[in-house]
Subunit: 362 residues, 2 copies
């Protein structure tokens, strides 16, 4: 039966904002999260500070989680996934399956918002030249976030404080060899943010960032990139790292400084791989279950034939956050809110009979 | 008297989406635009193709304009500006003044969305070294858009078809001398889009882009940057242009190729200055009239203390699009939709008495 309830799939920043938005408009939201906790990547990967503003990620996320879990109009289903969908915009019948025990529930909603997000590129999968699985002191952005959060940023191999650290940008992004030609959008900003935090927590440590282009678009430039250089003395080197070798108990980083036009060979205590974004397993699975078109990388395709960044190929199903491609936190929350508006608006028009499905815009 | 009507200031992409969103939720929208037409920069500056998808800007904008003007819940006030505001969230009394004739109207709304956008940096104002007001063949991104739209991309000085064109990035952005340390976010993408269009319309013309970093974040990389290089043979040169001189009837472009580490001196038929974004006069004026905090550049400040990208310093007043800082079209439309949700949600809660103003979140 047609109604204005909205199903939101995924409990990260975009899904939480979508749920909060739907309930704020007086509609019922069913928020399905396959894990047993809300918060998405910032919580599950144990992020340290968020930008803007360097507030603690857990603190910021806990505020929105508290709002969502205390809202009577939101039915939070932890440990559930979406097993099947039937019907169409205004009247979807969705089967939710409890992970593990086979229990299932059927719910009826007017619209669906997909907020299943991304996963971090596995730097061992195809770029093994950087030795992620070989050397303890080669880590990822997420490993680094966790150490920053614990205020214990050390050399994993021996627990000592590092003296020299470098980031290598574009690991798993802008890379035709592995098929990820897209840019992951946030890694330049996150690496620079982490470089600042490392300099704050380990003041004796020198920090280098090897990059192709520093994509500090918009506010990242003035809020992060200038202070990183001027106040925190982070050293940016335009260059390509070709290999990482072991040299004694250090790492030997070999590559080219493209500005100086000469080979580079430097030793580091820790190398952080700035690994990019890929569609999460949940994003690929939901695209299949819901029958949504995906782009060649597996992200959910937005049909960019109009000014409608939360549309999918199926009327009544909307997308927000990084399920549609690399997004920063502002983008994710913004599209979460926009999708809430679109979903409630469409579901109510269809429920009231103000609009016939044949004319339903995406 | 408390009500759920929403005032939207500015009729560009963000404001149009906000108005469409508010009406879609069944609330009344008053859309105030100081000019006598809707559409904002894409219409007033006569943009050619939009990204994603390279659809004609006028065609895309006319679709959303038609939706907005045919919607009974939206009261479009062309040629009006906001002269004064009193009251607070849930109950704002706004004085609208008709430009030119002194006529004024008073409206009562529950919330306000500012969508007053940006203006293009004037490249003659402080960066006179590039000779924008001196040489006819030195033009801006907007001048170039207009020629692309007219399918008449020529040397302005003589009307002939150009053989060599270059873009100079970061004019008015990332520049401490003029106080604009921020990155304008879209100019790398727009220059690359235009380079593709020039190559399509003037196939004999070689196109060069001088850049500091190519900030083709996210989809711009795979949708624009790879094809620009591979299919359209646009030549990207990392370098800094220091001066432009006249040499016969050509322009002599002098600078440094930072990848090759050597001086560059090349002649061009046309030089396009990729001028950045600054807050529009309307954005600065509305910040003053509404009492909104601005950042040091004059954009409306979003208090980034929570996951709330459309908040301002005043409860009940929201911001969308480039009034809050450089934004691309996806961002502008996304935040327009998110602001619509926030505004209607808050205004209705206050009107129903579900929420007291003292507890109103931004």
């Amino acid at each position: 039966m047609a109604n204005d309830a909205v199903l939101i799939i995924g409990g990260g920043p975009a899904g939480l904002e979508a749920a909060r938005g739907v309930a704020g408009l007086g509609a019922r939201a069913i928020l399905v999260e396959r894990r047993n906790n809300l918060g998405g990547a910032p919580i599950n990967e144990r992020y340290a500070a968020l930008t803007h503003g360097f507030r603690d990620a857990e603190e910021v996320m806990n505020e929105i989680i508290a709002e969502v879990t205390s809202e009577a109009l939101i039915d939070v289903r932890l440990g559930y996934s979406v097993a099947a969908v039937a019907g169409s915009a205004g009247d979807f019948t969705v089967t939710l399956a409890k992970e593990g025990n086979g229990h299932s529930d059927v719910v009826n909603v007017g619209a669906i918002i997909v907020a299943t997000g991304f996963q971090h590129f596995d730097p061992g999968r195809e770029t093994q030249m950087y030795g992620y699985y070989e050397f303890d002191d080669v880590i990822t952005l997420q490993d680094s976030e966790r150490m920053l959060k614990d205020r214990n940023w050390v050399r994993p191999s021996n627990g000592e404080s590092p003296k020299r650290v470098c980031f290598i940008q574009c690991v798993g992004s802008r890379d035709r060899h592995i098929g990820n030609e897209y840019c992951s959008k946030v890694c330049c900003g996150i690496a620079s943010k982490q470089a600042i935090e490392i300099r704050q927590q380990v003041p004796d440590c020198r920090v280098f960032i090897f990059y192709i282009d520093m994509r500090m678009y918009g506010y990242w430039e003035n809020e992060i990139y200038w202070p990183a250089q001027e106040k925190y003395k982070v050293q940016y080197v335009k260059g390509i790292v070709t290999e990482i070798l072991k040299k004694g108990d250090k790492l030997l980083v070999r590559g080219e400084d493209t500005t100086m036009g000469r080979p580079v060979e430097v030793t580091m205590d820790v190398v952080v791989l700035s690994n990019g974004m890929e569609p999460s397993a949940g994003t690929k699975e939901m695209a299949r279950v819901l029958g949504l078109k995906q782009n060649k990388y597996g992200f959910i395709e937005v049909p960019h034939d109009a000014l409608n960044p939360t549309a999918t190929s199926v009327p009544g199903i909307f997308v927000s956050g990084a399920a549609a491609g690399p997004r920063d936190l502002d983008d994710s929350v913004g599209t979460g809110g926009a999708a809430a508006m679109k979903a409630v608006s469409l579901a109510r028009k269809l429920a009231r009979g103000d609009l016939q499905l044949a004319n339903a815009s995406r």
